[in-house]
Amino acid sequence: MMLSRVADSFYWIGRYTERAEHACRVLQITLTAGLEAGAEEAEMTTERAMRALGAAPMAARMDALEEARLLTFGGKGEISSIHTAVFAARENARQVRDQITTEMWERLNRLYFRVRETASKRNFSQIAAGFFEETINDLHAFKGIVSGTMSHGEGFHFLSMGRAIERAQLIVRLLDLHFGEKQAAIGDFGWVQLLRMCCGLEPYLRVKTATFRRDQIADFLVLDPYFPRSLRFCANTIAEHIDAVGVLADERARETCTRLSGRLAARLNFAVLDEVTGKSGQAFIAQVADDCIAISDAVHAAFISYSLADRLPGTSTLGVR
């Protein structure tokens, strides 16, 4: 038993920390890639990365570094930045300060103060690489602290579910921008950067060796059963955490969540490579993204924003009829 509002906060702590970590990684890799000055490939990679993070298309773009600064600390009209994600995660943690462990709080609190402090520094170009690395490390540590200090009860499952849903959506976004391009347009360089942005270069080399082909990469990032950032892995993680919290929910409410998450997992567990790599590849991953949204909505409806009339004492029998 947990307050609905608290569960919601846990869910969003999971989402926002994952979002911040992903943005840090993508920007870190983009800025490094940008160092290969002049190379058209590097420019294309930067373009795709920025768009994956929600920046405007190329035409309106400014200097990559300036763009990265905006995506990190926000600016006028910038809705989503690393700063806002970390702030939102911390704010959600504050909301449930009585429910999380001191270790979790202190880590997030420290991270937030560091991001804020860095935002006011002028020499962003020099400190950017170090900043992203430290932030990613902090967020990794946060995941370890969550798993190591918090009870693996409801709150933990909501947090982990949020993280997995967010992760799947972020990966889909990156993939979508790459699957839309021709194999040659991306090139080895581009594919390697994609794998890096998904934190998957080393695991990929382990199973696929250093050949970078679209179908192999799709096979890995979409269908690999063991890589923790493949869509399939994410889908199974989501289903697992929904099963874990589902036992608590009202039967009718839980039904939708279980069905949706089970269907998504099945979709990925039993997909054929052709569906993912061929012309239908983009449509396939778009479906994954839609499913994630549907699952998110269903969870919200079942556990958090349910109608009071459905749950008042004595109404459950009425509802079944």
């Binding site: 038993m1 609905s4 509002r5 001191t102 709080w105 202190e106 349910y306 008042l312």
Partner: protein
């Protein structure tokens, strides 16, 4: 450090306040000093700290203080001035030097606080019941019924154990003769108990030997006592009642404390939007559906708990709560309407209230208070405005105040006019100097003014945690201990045995 006492006795003369040595900057004034008597000798109970300070180097004190500040910031023991993203979260400065209260002094205080709260609860039961004290003319009718804090909705409501005030934080100060006097009663949502607990944690670590040797009574059971008290409020109809803490939310300046208490009690921390009421029963929205709530420890002001009963623009409470309360389906602590008894004018009547209900003399005095509503007292006030502190009855936090000795002629005249225009709204008190206690200031030990706020719990039985929040005015000479105006806090050590060091129980 263990050899410290011998060293002191070896020296020709022990260090004295105001003389060269560790207490050079320590100036005894007219105010009662907690550590030194008039001759400059340490008072009973203070010898341990005195010896320790006699030995301490400025650097060692500085290190201890820096350590405490760091711990508090990291733990987020903060007092928030919140508004937007770049909000300021500040720690209330905690002084490393504890304030010490010998056992005998505490015994008297304890009896005094319990007597006072018992009488105030009887008073509240009376004014929300038969109103005998009003009908007999002991307390003016309009003073009670006309108070903004009087809640008609509470008339005739049966309150468990007759305890309207379940958590009470009474502020006391010491007169120049050392006697404790009550400055005000906080009967609505007194705060600061998280500082009592956090300060203890930090100071205990800074002076482990001293702490052990002094036989300080522990305060750590406060959250358990609080939970037991809250449960006792619903025990008549629920063997294991569900208790929640109701907070206005993260934007409230005391949010840290709300979360802190909820965490230590293991109870849900709810906001108004988490609650729903159906058929006069209170539920909270949980992931597994609606769950019944039996006791609400509310940290939301009366006026905001129920938009249907009180302020209609409030979003901090839940609609229908008062009806559920009146139906006896939920207990709210403190009971709505308890605030009428901590009114500044009612305060002047508290000695009579104690006498009336308990037939006892007050064990702890109050500050002499003149009611401008009484003609004879008003003329005295008007004649002595330059010596008195005048307070508006309905205001708090230092607003609407005249401090006579520091006021200009024009201000005094302005206040005289105000008093004449609306005498009911004003009371006056002589200026009192708060007692001073040793406080760490920039590497040295100096005197600063302090007050004392202990926390009394009252449900099926009354308990007083042997400890308190000591607030300290960190600005030199200042008498304002409020955290918003440069106040800090100190740990308060209540000793368990007689001052010769023998344990009593």
């Amino acid at each position: 450090m263990a050899r410290a006492p011998e060293k002191v006795s070896d020296m020709a003369a022990p260090p004295r306040p105001g003389q060269e040595g560790p207490f050079e900057g320590y100036h005894l004034g007219a105010a009662y000093d907690e550590m030194f008597d008039a001759k400059g000798d340490p008072r009973p109970g203070w010898a341990g700290l005195y010896n320790r300070l006699s030995q301490a180097t400025p650097q060692s004190l500085r290190d201890l203080q820096a350590n405490i500040d760091r711990t508090f910031m990291a733990q987020g023991v903060t007092f928030t001035v919140y508004g937007h993203e770049d909000s300021t979260e500040r720690i209330i400065p905690t002084d490393i030097l504890p304030r010490i209260i010998p056992a005998a002094e505490w015994d008297k205080l304890e009896r005094g606080f319990k007597q006072r709260l018992e009488a105030l609860n009887l008073f509240l039961a009376d004014i929300y019941g038969d109103q005998a004290i009003i009908n007999n003319g002991y307390v003016p009718r309009d003073l009670i019924l006309g108070s903004t804090n009087y809640r008609r909705e509470m008339l005739g409501v049966e309150v468990p154990h007759g305890a309207y005030v379940n958590i009470c934080g009474t502020d006391v100060i010491r007169r120049e003769d050392g006697a404790y006097v009550v400055l005000e009663d906080n009967l609505r949502v007194p705060s600061g108990v998280s500082y009592m607990l956090s300060n203890r944690d930090a100071v205990k670590r800074a002076f482990p030997d001293l702490y052990r040797a002094a036989r300080v009574r522990p305060v750590e059971s406060y959250p358990d006592d609080l939970l037991a008290m809250l449960k006792s409020l619903a025990s008549e109809y629920q063997p294991d009642p569900t208790v929640v803490v109701l907070t206005p939310g993260v934007f409230n300046s005391a949010y840290f404390e709300h979360a802190f208490l909820a965490r230590l009690m293991g109870t849900p921390l709810v906001e108004g939007r988490d609650l729903a009421i159906h058929d006069n029963v209170v539920y909270m929205r949980t992931t597994s559906g609606l769950k019944r709530v039996d006791v609400i420890y509310r940290r939301v002001d009366d006026a905001f708990v129920d938009p249907l009963a009180f302020r209609p623009d409030s979003t901090l409470g839940v609609a229908g709560l008062m009806n559920a309360y009146r139906a006896g389906n939920v207990v709210i602590a403190n009971a709505p309407g308890a605030g009428v008894a901590d009114d500044k004018a009612v305060y002047a009547y508290t000695p009579q209230i104690i006498k009336h209900y308990l037939d006892q003399d007050p064990i702890i005095d109050i500050v002499e208070t003149f009611l401008c509503r009484e003609k004879s007292q008003m003329s005295h006030v008007l004649a002595n405005l330059d010596k008195l502190v005048v307070k508006a009855v309905g205001e708090s936090g230092g607003y609407g105040m005249l401090i006579g000795p520091h006021a200009t002629k024009a201000q005094i005249e302005e206040f005289a006019a105000k008093i004449k225009a609306d005498p009911d709204n004003y009371i006056a008190q002589p200026t009192i100097s708060l007692s001073t206690a040793p406080t760490y200031i920039d590497g040295a030990v100096e005197t600063r003014h302090v007050d004392l706020r202990p926390f009394i719990l009252c449900g099926a039985k009354m308990t007083l945690t042997p400890g308190a929040l000591t607030r300290v005015a960190l600005r030199k000479g200042s008498l304002v201990v409020n955290s918003s105006q440069g106040g800090g806090s100190k740990d308060t050590w209540v000793l368990s045995g007689p001052s010769d060091g023998r344990a009593r129980s």
